[in-house]
């Protein structure tokens, strides 16, 4: 009897041992002799807390090599040297050799002098004014630093706009506001409706680009109302006029 019990116990032990092999992990092998095969990156947490300031990719894309962003690089200052008068205005590039500004900025000019955000002078080739809107196109001989994209549609009421220009002929200035509505042009300079915003502008801001949050041009500043609002030629008007070359007539120099 005792022998049978011993055999049964041994069998049970082997059975338990075999059964245990099914639930416990495999027996570990011998350690390797070279722990340095582990990469250092495996010792670092997968998502460490940022220890250094980071640059947002969109912000990095907007940066230029000289630290000025695209919004500033596209803006130009226009000096209208007329016959016995001098005035300044703003403008912005739409391609490497084309500027958009207001008709009244370049009107009655004996010469136009354009300078960029960093003070470089840009030689002007020709200037043309639109018939049905307070817009003008200036072609330059020298290349312009940067050009924004034109928006596809006019901004809706409540949309934020950023105006980049040279108010009072001073330093390059960026102001912000929102579109408060549309109205008929009180100056009768533009066909169709114009945009009204609360972005602050001053004389000299004429021709400034109004940009949406994506940096696209949605309007061109051309006037300021008595109640402090700014009037914009909407981008739809700009697009339609740019698409029709017959809309423009060359600027006649004063004499």
């Amino acid at each position: 009897m005792r022998h049978r019990a011993a055999v049964a116990a041994a069998g049970a032990s082997i059975a338990l041992l075999l059964a245990g092999c099914g639930v416990v992990p495999g027996f570990p092998g011998l350690p390797s002799a070279a722990p340095s095969q582990i990469e250092a990156s495996q010792l670092v947490p997968a998502s460490p807390a940022p220890a250094a300031p980071t640059v947002d990719p969109s912000a990095a894309a907007a940066l230029s090599p000289d630290g000025f962003d695209t919004v500033q690089r596209m803006a130009v200052r226009i000096r209208n040297v007329g016959c016995g008068k001098l005035s300044t205005g703003s403008g912005f590039a739409v391609d490497s050799h084309t500027l958009i500004t207001n008709r009244h900025v370049v009107a009655e000019a004996q010469s136009l002098q354009v300078s960029t955000y960093d003070g470089r002078d840009v030689a002007v080739a020709t200037a043309s004014t639109a018939k049905l809107a307070d817009l003008a196109v200036v072609r330059t001989r020298d290349a312009l630093p940067s050009a924004p994209q034109l928006g596809d549609t006019d901004p809706a009421t409540g949309s934020r706009v950023t105006v980049v220009g040279y108010p009072e002929g001073g330093a390059l200035t960026i102001t912000q506001g929102t579109v408060v509505g549309t109205t008929k042009d009180p100056l009768n300079e533009n066909l169709g409706e114009v945009l009204v915003t609360d972005a602050p502008v001053e004389p000299g801001s004429s021709g400034s680009a109004a940009l949406d949050d994506a940096g696209r041009v949605v309007g061109v500043v051309y006037a300021k109302t008595d109640d402090g609002h700014s009037l914009l030629v909407p981008v739809s008007t700009l697009r339609s006029i740019l698409a029709d070359a017959s809309q423009f007539t060359p600027v006649t120099p004063c004499s």
Binding site: V7, A51, D66, S115, L172
Partner: protein, 193 residues
């Protein structure tokens, strides 16, 4: 062969005992001994392997700890470098912001100087035009005065001139003087603006 004989004729005769199983346990004991021996050998092998493995694990653990210390030192060094780089980056950004602000200021100053220069050039041109106009007016007034003097001289000696010629000359002088006076008036008005 046994010497014992069965008791015949007695009711109390007991049966002859069965022969004892002297030869049956031997194989079982041997098998059990073999099994135990195998188990013992297996246990010894397992113990040896575990000892050998534990020794290796111990050595490996020491190596890992040494490497962990090395990596920790590297992490500390890299963290210090990262902090230094972050400070340099922040400093560079400040410098860049200062530089861009200064560039904007310089561009504005240049633009203002350009405006001043253009305005000065326009004023210079204006002064040139005024000077030229003043010279023209002065010349016209001089000619007017000279004509008037000649006319006065002619009127003092009417016998020496034809009356019609004197009258025509007087008309010419009057026209000249009127033009000179108008030009002078215009010039004065221009200067007053």
């Amino acid at each position: 062969m046994s010497d014992e004989q069965p008791f015949e004729g007695f009711g109390l005769a007991r049966p002859a005992p069965e022969p004892a199983p002297a030869s049956r346990p031997a194989p079982r004991r041997r098998r059990a001994a073999v099994v135990l021996a195998v188990l013992l050998v297996a246990a010894l092998v397992l113990a040896g392997y575990l000892w050998y493995s534990a020794d290796h694990w111990h050595a490996d653990s020491d190596a890992w700890q040494a490497q962990a210390r090395t990596h920790a030192a590297k992490v500390v060094d890299l963290q210090a470098k990262l902090d230094a780089s972050a400070q340099e980056l922040a400093s560079a950004r400040d410098q860049l912001a200062t530089a861009t602000t200064r560039i904007t200021q310089l561009a504005n100053e240049k633009a203002q100087l350009g405006d001043t220069n253009a305005a000065s050039q326009q004023y210079l041109d204006y002064q040139k035009r005024v000077s030229t106009a003043a010279g023209t007016v002065a010349d016209a007034l001089t000619r007017c005065t000279s004509g008037q003097q000649q006319l006065i001289q002619a009127l003092r000696t009417p016998d020496q001139y034809d009356a019609a010629d004197v009258q025509r000359f007087a008309d010419q002088v009057a026209t000249l003087c009127k033009q000179a006076t108008d030009a002078n008036t215009q010039l004065q008005q221009e200067l007053q603006q």
